[in-house]
């Protein structure tokens, strides 16, 4: 039985104003798979994440992105989220005065509404959240604080994965979630991500360094340079990168 295709990107060209960044990017991700996307700074990794989530300011000039049978680029960012696309931000945004619990409950209920499921009330929601928060070893008081306000760098990143745990996306895109994390936090985040792996969903892990992949074991590793994938392989490709550096791979 062939696995369901979650995301199919074909020959994507995109950029900011007149500057092209993605130059023929193609990638196919099936249900149950974890893909790692690696590359030097400026290779276009974060641009790809932003375009998939629907951030404003990028222009797609060619190519297609198919998500579960829909044209992803045709959807507004909130419609993508409701359809199960989740972006863990490289720089999570602070929203002063907005309670974290309130924020996340509103988000989950939007997603549930779009699926025709009943909305959760405050008590049901807290019940759900109690288990998830342990997964990320976050303090309970985080739920009473404003969204990301006054969080340490590590707390912000863990909070992203916590949100992912609550929202249960079909496609999770982790944009350099490892950057700025110390090794303990890295282990917790990776542990959380591993536990969230499901047969019907997929993860795209974007990272600059190999070290995250010691804890999140990908099924596929892709190396990106100058706006497209230049080499793909299994998890051993990440180790090869670590040993020989990007230069060696790019020269091949």
């Amino acid at each position: 039985m062939s696995k369901q295709t979650i995301l199919e990107i074909k020959n994507l060209h995109a950029g900011v104003e007149t500057k092209p960044i993605l130059k023929g990017f193609s990638l196919s991700i099936n249900a149950g798979e974890v893909h790692a996307l690696m590359g030097l700074n400026g290779s276009g990794k974060s641009t790809l994440a932003a375009i998939l989530a629907g951030r404003a300011g990028y222009e797609v000039t060619a190519g297609t992105v198919n998500y579960l049978g829909q044209d992803l680029l045709d959807l507004d960012p909130e419609e993508r989220a409701r359809a199960g696309v989740f972006l863990a931000f490289q720089y999570p945004v602070e929203i002063p005065g907005v309670n974290s619990t309130y924020f996340l409950k509103a988000a989950l209920n939007e997603i549930r509404k779009s699926k025709g499921q009943p909305e959760l009330d405050a008590i049901e929601f807290l019940e759900l959240v109690k288990d998830k928060i342990k997964l990320l070893e976050l303090k309970d008081d985080l739920l009473r604080r404003s969204v990301n306000e006054g969080f340490s760098g590590g707390e912000k990143k863990r909070n992203e994965i916590f949100q992912m745990a609550v929202l249960e996306p079909r496609l999770a895109i982790l944009d350099e979630t490892d950057s700025g994390l110390d090794i303990d936090a890295l282990k917790i985040v990776a542990g959380g991500v591993n536990k969230l792996k499901r047969a019907d969903s997929a993860q795209l892990v974007i990272t600059h360094y190999q070290r995250l992949l010691n804890y999140i074991v990908p099924d596929f590793v892709h190396v990106m340079a100058d706006g497209k994938i230049v080499k793909s392989g299994g998890k051993e490709l990440a180790l090869e990168l670590e040993a020989n550096g990007y230069e060696a791979i790019l020269k091949q």
Partner: protein, 482 residues
């Protein structure tokens, strides 16, 4: 790409929910302002001579005053001769003896506004004085309050029933010489609410005045006087709406609060006058003088205001901290959208020793709105060991609006401290996108961000009002982000 790109900027027409007109026959004095007009109003209300004289003195003083020009709002010169200064629904037969006898059309109006006045269905725990154009339609729960010695009635009634109190305190906080619009109000005020809390009594329910302008070409000039005697406590709410008309209407009220020893007055306003349309046509000019006097030791006055309506909002609810150890607080959210303008803030005058004041002001500007915070903190020589903390935050939505801050600080002794914090932020595309990427629509995201920004003020509002205020904010900013 995504349509959320074009966010911020595209303005659509917002619905003003309270813009209907009540079809009731009204009796208005012809437009025009003279001593004769004032004597006419005074006679109509069967006022004692001292009050007529006071009005005339105020009018004569007003005539000598130049119109102020320092404010940061723009409007065409007001023709004071074109305004009708007295308008009331035509009485049918005898004056109604109870609320059940009031013209059903008027009761219906308040019901439509969410303020049922009839005994059945009236708001639990809130006593309401309903002001329609120039007169009070009725006051709920007055008998219950009277049992505790609390007086809550229309101003006109108080003039007759409690002349000593009115005579003693009228103009004691805002004298008619205070400013241009206070002088005008003193000359022509028609009605308003009066409240007296006796010694040691804690008012068991929220008191509220609901102002409704209905008649065209009229102005509303009401006067509110609240006195809390030693140890008395009261929480007072004020709400206001008006029909959508393409002319500007003037609302120039005066509110005076007096807190005696250890008394506490909390005055909350949710101001939702018709703001005009998206091109700035029509709407209310809300030029109001509100001031509280902390007369006794350890007294406390708190102003909380949520200003979302009016074409122009121009007012500075203030506190004179005369009693030693008294406290003044001002919490404000002022929103301008489309072509609205606001110049609002507070004055905290520290005179007594160990007095304290807190100012938290949140200004939100959207559309082509202009929002100014103007505040004075004055610490006099006598006010030893006094303290003030001010925080003024502005939020901009879009690129065509403005936020301005004019803080004035005068400190005349060395034992006091004054702190002022200010910030201006633009509602970030980043914040909106973050919310979008979690499944929230742009409108919901803006509401959430704005409500978060105003949280410190909302928590000062009485519960029922806080919910109302949050909803109101949502409606006011509808369409400010596309």
């Amino acid at each position: 790409m995504s349509t959320a790109t074009d966010t911020i900027e595209s303005l659509v027409k917002q619905e003003y929910k309270y813009g209907f007109v009540t079809d009731v026959e009204s009796e208005s004095t012809p437009p025009g302002l003279s001593e004769e007009t004032i004597r006419h109003i005074s006679a109509k209300k069967n006022e004692p001579a001292w009050l007529t004289d006071w009005r005339i003195k105020a009018f004569r003083y007003w005539q000598t005053m130049p119109e102020p020009t320092w404010q940061f709002v723009k409007y065409p010169k007001i023709d004071f001769q074109a305004i009708s200064y007295f308008s009331q629904p035509k009485p049918k037969g005898d004056a109604p003896k109870s609320l059940d006898e009031v013209d059903p059309k008027l009761l219906e109006t308040y019901e439509k506004l969410g303020i049922p006045l009839r005994e059945r269905g009236r708001l639990a725990g809130v006593a309401v004085d309903a002001i329609f154009d120039s007169v009070s339609v009725g006051t709920t729960y007055r008998e219950d309050l009277a049992k505790k010695g609390i007086i809550f009635c229309s101003f006109s009634e108080a003039v007759h029933a409690h002349p000593d109190l009115v005579k003693k305190y009228l103009g004691s906080v805002v004298p008619y010489t205070d400013n241009y619009y206070a002088a005008l109000n003193s000359a022509v005020f028609t009605d308003g609410s009066f409240c007296y809390i006796p010694k040691g009594v804690r008012c068991p329910m929220e008191l509220s005045t609901y102002f409704r302008i209905n008649a065209a070409k009229s102005g509303q000039f009401e006067r509110t006087l609240i006195i809390a005697d030693d140890g008395g406590q009261v929480s007072y709410l004020e709400g206001c709406t008006a029909p959508m008309r393409d002319e500007n209407q003037l609302h120039a009220a005066v509110v005076e609060l007096v807190a005696l020893e250890s008394a506490e007055i909390k005055y909350s306003t949710v101001q939702n006058w018709y703001p005009g349309d998206e091109n700035g046509v029509g709407g209310i000019y809300n030029f109001v003088t509100k001031r509280g006097l902390c007369k006794g030791k350890n007294s406390r006055i708190t102003w909380t205001q949520v200003e979302t309506g009016s074409a122009i909002t121009w007012k500075y609810p203030s506190c004179i901290l005369l009693g030693d150890g008294s406290k003044g607080e001002f919490y404000s959210v002022a929103v301008v959208n489309n072509m609205q303008q606001a110049d609002t803030g507070t004055k905290m005058i520290h005179i007594g020793k160990n007095t304290k004041s807190t100012i938290v002001s949140k200004g939100i500007s959207a559309g082509r709105g202009q929002n100014s915070y103007r505040g004075l903190v004055e610490i006099r020589k006598t006010a030893a060991n006094s303290r003030n903390f001010s925080q003024c935050d502005s939020m901009l939505i879009g690129a065509k609006c403005g936020a301005h801050t004019f803080p004035y600080i005068e400190v005349k002794n060395t034992s006091s401290s004054v702190e002022h914090e200010a910030s201006t932020s633009k509602i970030g595309e980043d914040q909106i996108f973050y919310c979008n990427s979690r499944g929230l629509s742009t409108q919901d995201a803006v509401n959430m961000i704005v409500n978060g920004f105003c949280k410190e003020v909302f928590k000062e509002l009485p519960m029922e009002f806080a919910v109302e205020a949050q909803k109101l904010l949502g409606v006011s900013l509808e369409g400010s982000v596309g």
